[in-house]
């Protein structure tokens, strides 16, 4: 009972603020709505007993990435191009894409009871108090099975760091040198 209340609360907050994020005109309002969505998703992670991802989501996404977004939104003044030329077909194209995706969802919903793995319920998995400690299990898997992807991810982050610095650097200095 408590589980379903929590799920519907977090899911409702996530979907509602995601919809708000897409529809708000002001980019800063969108960013705040996305923060709320990410926090709700962190709650979903906690409900799925992924404690490490829960805290990573809050620290890294909400504390890191979203602060970066808000920083950039405030850095570039968005008030200047307030008049926007509308691409007329845009709504139509968006409607088509949404219709196609929603149709796919309905098809999946209708076929759900025919798919293999039906009746695969969470109740069948281990109860929460029998699970190994989440961070420990994650670290064991990350540093043994997934050691190579882990190293590649570190190289990727290094490249991204250098790339971001190069991209955001002032153009004048490069032409002088």
């Amino acid at each position: 009972m408590l589980d379903s209340i929590l799920f519907y609360f977090f899911a409702g907050v996530a979907v509602l603020s995601a919809a708000l994020m897409v529809t708000r005109r002001n980019a800063l309002h969108s960013a705040v709505c996305l923060v709320s969505t990410l926090l709700a998703i962190a709650g979903i992670f906690l409900q799925l007993r992924a404690e490490f991802l829960f805290i990573t989501q809050i620290i890294l996404y909400v504390g890191g990435i979203m602060v970066l977004f808000i920083f950039v939104i405030m850095l570039v003044r968005l008030d200047a191009p307030i008049h926007q030329i509308r691409f007329r077909m845009q709504r139509f194209v968006a409607f088509l894409v949404v219709l196609a995706l929603a149709l796919e969802g309905v098809v999946i919903l209708l076929l759900a009871h025919k798919l293999p793995g039906n009746g695969l319920l969470i109740q069948g998995s281990a109860p929460a108090d029998k699970l190994p400690p989440n961070s420990e299990a994650l670290a064991k898997s990350l540093f043994s099975d997934y050691l190579l992807p882990f190293e590649i991810a570190s190289v990727l982050l290094l490249v991204a760091m250098v790339g971001a610095v190069v991209m955001a650097k002032s153009r004048k200095r490069t032409s002088e040198s």
Partner: protein
């Protein structure tokens, strides 16, 4: 405990909203934020199946996706700042240098 279908539909709804954001919004920063939303919807799926099968691999992949999202945000925002410096705009409609 909820059934997996609930989580799948939550993930599907968030993915759909993210797609709508990518297609309809003209502000490039909001498009990037919609992409972050799509990545999070995928993460919910990964964590859900990790829980169902009792295997932490899904959570490891979700961790990699978060690292990728951080890299993508850093690069994307760097590109946005460089673009804003050159063209003084953030509208996707104005980025038509390659248009015929």
């Amino acid at each position: 405990m909820m059934s997996p279908a609930h989580y799948l539909f939550l993930s599907f709804a968030l993915f759909l909203i993210g797609c709508i954001g990518v297609v309809t919004r003209r502000n490039v920063i909001v498009v990037l934020m919609s992409i972050e939303l799509i990545l999070n919807a995928v993460n919910i799926n990964l964590v859900l199946f990790s829980r169902i099968f009792g295997d932490v691999s899904g959570q490891v992949f979700a961790l990699f996706i978060i690292a990728d999202a951080a890299a993508e945000a850093a690069i994307g925002l760097g590109i946005i700042i460089a673009f804003f410096r050159n063209r003084e705009t953030l509208l996707a409609d104005e980025m038509d240098l390659l248009k015929w």
